[in-house]
């Protein structure tokens, strides 16, 4: 009992500190700090938080069942109940319904202030990581908990370290592929496809856009381009930008933004540029470029070709008409015309739940045999609702 009093005193002091810093605190951090400041050692902690007034699914036998199940699953664990209540000592009667190691009453509403749904189940493992579990799913499924709480160490069959050099520092490689003993990947900021050779452990350039290619596949006046390039900005990368690439059987296909029209009036300091999008193909040292015929107002940044020569692209549109666009299917065999547009509506999501940040909604894609494509939706930012307590 004395231990409990000491812990409650710590909570009160810490809660005062939280109150004074709550405007700047990040939601999860505030709760993590709250738990860590209970100073309960390095044991696994199973924390169930409830609100005595607003807990709509506070089925106590179910909560107790989950509690016992978690405690049996997670070794060396300590169980804690946190009950939010406006009135001090109001929740002590509820405490007796649980067979728990520790009980705290929280009159400052740390959990509900952070928009967590009750009953909230939080695990702090002995590495000090916090895991927020879904209560309703937990009722029917507890087989995955052990994997989550006690994961195996990362095991690899083989590791190859890729050594960067001062000449070839890269950030996020795109579409890495190993073929014929080489690793190819797009270094987007460098606007180059780089090649890592496993034998000599060196990085070199596999493909860099050339000015000759811009001349060849553009309708622009060469004098204008020379003048533009001599001015030094925005530079060759902007004139021929690689957005993504695929490599197969010595055939390289690049999705590019290409300079197609340029009007320069230096006296009035006006420059107008048209960028056209298309596929630039390199095969047997022969280059070719096919321009997309429609929907040029959509931003492209990814693509994938399947065996039936369709292309799919994932990204949002650039204006209000197309901002919910996610993917385009291009019929390459029929004049490079897009014949299908997949939008957010096609995903049948409850859009009212989410912020309108489409680029976070669906991101990368895979490709399968035949005429199938696979897309993967990422985690979205939910609108958060703020509880107003009477």
């Amino acid at each position: 009992m004395n231990k409990q009093k000491i812990l409650i005193t710590i909570i009160v002091i810490y809660s005062f500190l939280i109150q004074n810093n709550s405007l700047n605190a990040k939601p999860r951090t505030e709760i993590n700090n709250y738990i860590n400041n209970l100073n309960l050692g390095n044991e696994n902690l199973i924390i169930i938080a409830m609100d005595i007034e607003d807990c709509f699914s506070c089925n106590l036998p179910k909560i107790n069942g989950i509690y016992n199940n978690l405690k049996a699953t997670i070794s060396n664990s300590k169980t804690i109940i946190v009950i939010e209540s406006k009135i001090p000592k109001d929740s002590y009667a509820m405490k007796n319904a649980f067979d728990t190691d520790l009980f705290f009453e929280d009159t400052l509403f740390i959990f509900s202030k952070n928009n967590l749904i009750f009953p909230n189940i939080l695990i702090r493992d002995n590495f000090n990581n916090f895991i927020n579990l879904n209560f309703n799913q937990l009722i029917s499924n507890s087989t995955n908990i052990n994997k989550l709480i006690n994961p195996q160490n990362y095991e690899i069959l083989k590791r190859i370290a890729i050594k960067e050099t001062d000449d070839y520092i890269f950030t996020s490689p795109i579409s890495p592929i190993i073929s014929n003993g080489n690793l190819l990947f797009l270094a987007k900021l460098r606007n180059q496809i780089l090649n890592y050779n496993f034998d000599n452990e060196e990085i070199s350039e596999y493909f860099t856009p050339k000015i000759d290619d811009i001349y060849k596949y553009s309708n622009i006046n060469s004098d204008s381009l020379d003048l533009f390039l001599s001015d030094g900005t925005p530079g060759i990368n902007f004139l021929f930008q690689i957005l993504n690439f695929q490599f197969e059987n010595n055939k390289t296909v690049l999705l590019i933004d290409k300079l197609s029209m340029l009007n320069i009036d230096f006296d009035n300091k006006e420059i107008s540029i048209d960028l056209n999008k298309g596929l630039f193909t390199i095969e047997d040292n022969i280059n070719s470029f096919r321009e997309f015929k429609s929907i040029n107002y959509v931003k492209y940044d990814d693509f994938s070709l399947n065996q039936k020569n369709k292309l799919i692209k994932i990204k949002y549109g650039s204006d209000y008409r197309t901002k919910d666009s996610l993917a385009l299917i291009l019929n390459i065999g029929e004049d490079y015309v897009f014949d299908t547009l997949i939008t957010v509506k096609d995903l049948k999501l409850k859009m009212y739940e989410y912020k309108y940040e489409i680029n976070e909604l669906v991101d990368f894609l895979g490709i399968a045999e035949g005429n199938k494509f696979f897309l993967l939706s990422k985690k979205c930012k939910k609108y958060t609702s703020i509880k107003i307590k009477s």
Binding site: I131, Y154, P173, L347, K379
Partner: protein, 105 residues
């Protein structure tokens, strides 16, 4: 919320990610790969846990493994396509920098 969508014959079908996603939503999905008629997904949580799941084309979970990254901080990861059908990740680590890690399928 996280789903796999299959586009075929101008129709879009969706499958919910299952397994650990049923109880825990905080794996940040980093990449997807199609290989051996299977769908591989890799996700990270707080740079400490890496999740690799395998689904078939009907959306059924075939395998999932969660590993603990105990000796470095993994900043990003991507699958590496390859002609040998091996499961390879190109990883960016805080201290080790870039590695190609060959994993058990």
């Amino acid at each position: 919320m996280q789903k796999i969508y299959k586009y075929q014959n101008k129709k879009l079908k969706s499958y919910n990610l299952t397994g650990v996603f049923n109880i825990y939503k905080d794996f940040d999905i980093k990449d997807m790969l199609i290989m051996d008629k299977k769908i591989y997904i890799v996700g990270l949580s707080d740079t400490k846990r890496i999740l690799i799941q395998t689904y078939d084309f009907s959306g059924k979970l075939l395998k999932e493994e969660i590993s603990y990254l105990n000796d470095d901080i993994l900043l990003n990861t991507r699958f590496v396509k390859n002609d040998k059908n091996k499961l390879i990740l190109m990883n960016k680590w805080r201290y080790k920098r870039w590695t190609l890690d060959y994993l058990q399928k």
